[in-house]
Amino acid sequence: MVSTRKKILAFAITLAGLLVLFLLAVNTGSLKVTPGELIRGLFVEYNENVAAVYDLRFPRIFIAMFGGGAVAVSGVLLQAVMKNPLADPGIIGISSGASFAAVIITAFFPMLYFVTPLFAFLGGMAACVLVYTLSWKGDLSPLRIILVGVAVNAVFTGLMSAFNSASGSSYSGVASIVNANISMKTWEDFQTLLIYVVIGLGASLFVSGQCNLLALEDKTVRSLGIDVTKSRILVSVIAVMLASIATAIMGPISFLGLIVPHIARLLVGSNHKVLIPYAIVLGAFSLLLADTIGRTIAMPYEISASVIMSVAGGPFFIILLRRSRKGYGQ
């Protein structure tokens, strides 16, 4: 078991790390500003460099942080609901379902851009329902969910690439969703993300007690007076919403929802009342780290955060898969 002191330490260190990383990310690129200049430039007097950083770098940094938190929590919730440590919105196709819907809107109904998050959510729900129904055989075998999820993911990813190619890759909006590129994001994008993410994360904290109970056997949960099916649906919808909105703005990012919850569980334990808040912080840190690495590693070119996540996440997934016989929460 993880002691309270260790949990507080994990929170403190990760938050401090996030702050340092934030300052580093602000200063990554041709323009440099010191923390002092930054604070003065933001709150006291106009500074040309700070203004440029504010318009160009801040949106992507904030999007990476909030989107990272959202995807990480989505992973935590899916793992609780499916009793499966390998569930990840990227791997099981929820993100690609959401981005496919977002791509269709962006390509065919660009004037409806403001409902893109809603359609992304419907796309994510469609993928989630597909995975559930296709892998249900009296129970939800962890491995079957992953296998079906991989297939669902492949279909949506394929459809998305097809649309991207068929539209001549000319819509930068489409391409940026397909490639999960967050370099050209604006404050408006962040605002859209923020509203849904705040609602989604608030809701996830609200269901943290139910997530704890779902780790027990279904019949045990039922004998405690909880309608397991309703509880599952509620938690799933929140998970899909978080993953979908993040995807609508950033594009699909795999493995983040897998790696972060896993490390978080090692550091703060499996009590969701602690795990979910911590996954928010660690998720923000991880995606910002991936994005910042992607910006620096091959300067002046950029590698997208999702590519960094895939390269780092693939081996991690294999390790987890090999250990998965132990199952969730046993």
Binding site: A215, L216, E217, T220, I226, S270
Partner: protein
């Protein structure tokens, strides 16, 4: 009639086309220990799940204290009856006290306790009577089989119900822990007036610890009544298909399961 806590009328249930419970009717008495016995696959587990709202009847009805359980919300039912299942899992790092506190869930609204003093009191009582207080900060996963079983019983007791169901509470335990659990069950019944309904595999333990026995065969009640009148050589032949010798010890019948 006032003495009946459960009343089952013409109950039928099937898994797909496999009929498990066939037109079964019975009543269960208040403040007693009733044990359901029967061969593997006779439907006793299914009956158990039907009685505890874990499965929905295909036909027929089940009444608890005169109310059809179909019309009782899950949460209200959880305040009337608690269930200890045969097979349980918990996260590796879940502490004993935390798990037992889950037993208070039926008294919470939207995850918030209405009376945390009452919660605290019931959790402490449940730990005391099951003798689990001394390892309340340990992880459930670190405990032995017998200790684990007492913790799961404690969680059910924290639900503060007048009815307690136990599905094969002694399976997988060695004889010392089996007796510990059975004596605890008897104490819960005699001292705290909790109606006990359980499934047991051991015929002798059923005989010794029950006030009433229900023998099931092929989805029906073969015989119900006091242990010494129900369990006879003939019944055992009919239920299990084997001939066993019966002996009398201290005025109670015992079978020699060899």
């Amino acid at each position: 009639m006032d003495n009946d806590v459960f009343k089952v009328e013409n109950l039928s249930f099937a898994y797909g086309r496999h009929q498990v419970i066939r037109d079964l009717s019975l009543t269960l008495s208040k403040n007693r220990i009733t044990t359901i016995i029967g061969a593997n696959g006779c439907g006793k587990s299914t009956l158990f799940h039907l009685l505890t709202k874990n499965l929905q009847p295909e036909r027929g009805s089940i009444f608890v204290n005169g109310k059809n359980i179909r019309d009782i919300p899950l949460k209200d039912f959880a305040r009337e009856a608690a269930i200890v299942h045969q097979y349980n899992t918990a996260p590796v790092d879940l502490s004993v006290e935390k798990l037992i506190s889950y037993g208070r869930t039926p008294y919470h609204t939207m995850g918030i306790s209405k009376d945390s003093n009452e919660d605290e009191k019931k959790i402490r009582w449940a730990m005391e009577i099951t003798n689990t207080e001394k390892y309340k900060d340990k992880a459930v996963s670190q405990l032995s089989g017998g200790q684990k079983q007492r913790v799961w019983i404690a969680m059910a007791l924290a639900q503060d119900t007048k009815i307690l169901f136990l599905d094969e509470p002694t399976t997988y335990l060695d004889i010392r822990y089996q007796l510990q659990i059975l004596r605890l069950i008897r104490q819960l019944n005699r001292e705290y007036k909790i109606t006990i309904i359980m499934v047991l595999h051991d015929i002798n333990q059923s005989l010794y610890y029950s006030d009433e026995i229900i023998a099931m065969k092929e989805g029906r009640v073969l015989k119900q009544g006091k242990p010494e009148t129900v369990v006879t050589g003939e019944l055992i032949r009919s239920v299990y298909g084997v001939s066993l010798n019966m002996r009398e010890v201290d005025g109670k019948p015992f079978v020699l399961p060899v």
